[in-house]
Symmetry: C2
Subunit: 383 residues, 2 copies
């Protein structure tokens, strides 16, 4: 198995990109990543693209072919991978395996979602849940995560204010990220007074509907210095599945797939949670940010609320969480999120994160999940 | 790079499976493949599943998680890959790379499509074409392939009867395949008198709308004999992209992606077209069967019509094409087709193909394309 390096990354501005089409968005991300990497377009060997539902959002399947065409990559092998909101993480992992296997040398792993071309994206997002047991019964993602939040509050005494603090810290970081969709600071009071979405979750607990794309360029670790002075190395790339429907779980306050993927990732990298200097977690809702901090092993189960309330996840604190602003502030274009997380960690490791730079960072982690945890992908990256 | 073997395969009955759900169909295929392979379910390390559009056909994305759950595979990494009708071929290739890389040892590569739960599958199938340049302008796949057929007839003198003969040979084989959707023989006259779909293509030139699933179990070649006495080895696994829209091509009578993928496959395997003892080609329409025979190098460009008319593609002739019955007779559940093709070649290589067995077969090939050739996947398998 060959070691793999990331030699270039990119992210488009995230937001409601009315004037940019699906195909233009992903092409922009790909070209920027190529420019960032020091390779030429002709050096690319293969592409993997994470996308949850272009079929439903823009009536287009076969998107890897479309993108290859648009980006002038023909006849290279181009493959779409999908695992709902974890599609980007899996595109990254698929690219890593393609390089590790020796099948390909220079690979683009990208992600894209165009969510604002439909009147109501909610039923589309719901196709990430178990249709027969959940979506068709009228329960959508805010409701599913609301149940998780209520149970976490009941089991562990997590407070409404602690949930709000997760969003507040995200926005504090996102206000320093020029590519974020909602780059303004917010207060706990603003979260607590925002519209109710699904009790106890309010508008400012929820990640937004977002258009955007991101890309990363991978190559064998031994070749990385040919292209860049600041390669970032893949120390672990893992993935796990969990029950897609909530009702099957023994404990809905733990995301089993995160626990499994994290355990494997630490083992693969020979590291522990204490070795991680910054982490991008999948906070599609504030409660999921808290679960991630627990399930990735940064605090004991049930302690994430007070940990966040105490400021321990801020950029200069014990474990900087979501220096990018996270899904809440940076935005959450479903298939692009996993790649955008990796881009943020790469920028952090290269010391290029500007006003949101984490000091003395040597190892970073990304955590990307699909649905309520039917899929989880974890990556550990280092200088 | 580790060599990879296929140690088990399966296919459900293909057809209008009203009484079988999406999740039951793929689970059946997976379990049958496991039984065929000699492994236990607990030995499986990861799964890849090819599926074109569960989002539009059954309102369910995140299907790899759903299937993992249904099949009791949690917490294993399970990933959907999509490239329209080539999704199965890419799921096979992704599984091969996962084993080759050393990331996983025993992998299920599967494919599934449930197409009959919607009133009109045609607009869904059209999402495999370029929506903005093709589908939204009212041109669908029969029309696209009709233009290709007309041009092939004009350029090379291919006749209406020769196109019909491709379907006739397919059905002759499919009549010997108990898993085929349309397992009856047909005549040239029947093809020529069937309803017009898109001039010159008639109903019996077109592959049907099909429900079905198929699966294959992969492992490192060096371990294969632990599980089975009759492993089949992957000699080549390649993939290429071509323009997704027809209007961009210099020559619409050649599928560039097939040419590129085939060229790489022969090189990877150290073989030539003369070494192939049977091939499963992607005949979504009869014309595409003819193109495949040419673009895979079995005959010169333009000669496939007379080659088929002369009976050279029958089971006991120069190059047996589609011993399974092909997409036309076996059926074409989009994401399952690429895996079903591999299952057929494995059965042929193991001498288990019953009345449709190709004699003295040592090397077989599969050819799976998406759309009108935006993606092509080619595999060469041998004893």
């Amino acid at each position: 198995m060959r070691d793999v390096a990331i030699i270039g990354v990119s992210q488009t501005k995230f937001g409601e990109l009315w004037d940019t089409s699906f195909r233009d968005m992903i092409t922009e991300a790909g070209l920027k990543a190529i420019q960032d990497s020091g390779i030429k377009g002709a050096d690319v060997d293969a592409m993997y693209v994470g996308n949850m539902s272009a079929g439903l959002f823009v009536e287009q399947e076969h998107i890897a072919s479309l993108i290859a065409d648009q980006a002038g990559l023909n006849p290279l092998p181009c493959t779409r991978v999908e695992a709902a909101c974890a599609s980007g993480g899996l595109a990254l992992r698929s690219g890593i395996m393609a390089v590790a296997s020796g099948y390909h040398d220079i690979v683009i792993s990208a992600g894209v979602e165009k969510m604002t071309d439909v009147v109501d994206p909610s039923p589309i997002v719901s196709t990430a849940s178990d249709q027969e047991w959940e979506a068709q019964q009228g329960i959508n993602f805010p409701s599913l995560y609301a149940m998780i939040a209520r149970r976490h509050m009941y089991e562990y005494g997590t407070t409404r204010e602690q949930l709000a603090m997760f969003s507040v810290v995200n926005h504090k970081n996102g206000a320093r990220n020029p590519l974020a969709q909602f780059g303004m600071e917010i207060t706990v009071d603003q979260v607590l007074n925002s519209s109710m979405v699904a009790d106890p979750l309010r508008l400012l607990d929820c990640s937004p509907i977002t258009d955007g794309a991101a890309a990363a360029i991978l190559c064998p670790a031994e070749d990385a210095h040919k292209y860049t002075d600041s390669p970032v190395y893949v120390k672990a790339s893992t993935q796990a599945s969990g029950t897609i429907a909530l009702h099957e779980r023994k404990d809905i306050t733990t995301i089993d797939s995160t626990v499994h993927a994290a355990r494997k990732a630490y083992k693969m990298a020979g590291l522990t949670p204490k070795d991680i200097d910054a982490v991008e977690v999948h906070d599609c809702f504030s409660i999921n940010g808290l679960l991630a901090i627990e399930d990735l092993g940064f605090v004991e189960k049930g302690k994430a609320g007070s940990f966040v309330e105490d400021g321990m996840t801020e950029i200069d604190a014990q474990i900087p969480v979501n220096p990018s602003g996270g899904l809440k502030s940076r935005g959450h274009p479903l298939g692009a999120t996993g790649i955008a997380q990796a881009a943020e960690i790469v920028w952090q490791l290269r010391g290029e994160a500007g006003k949101r730079q984490v000091k003395d960072i040597e190892v970073g982690m990304t955590h990307n999940i699909g649905g309520t945890g039917g899929t989880a992908a974890v990556h550990i990256l280092s200088n």
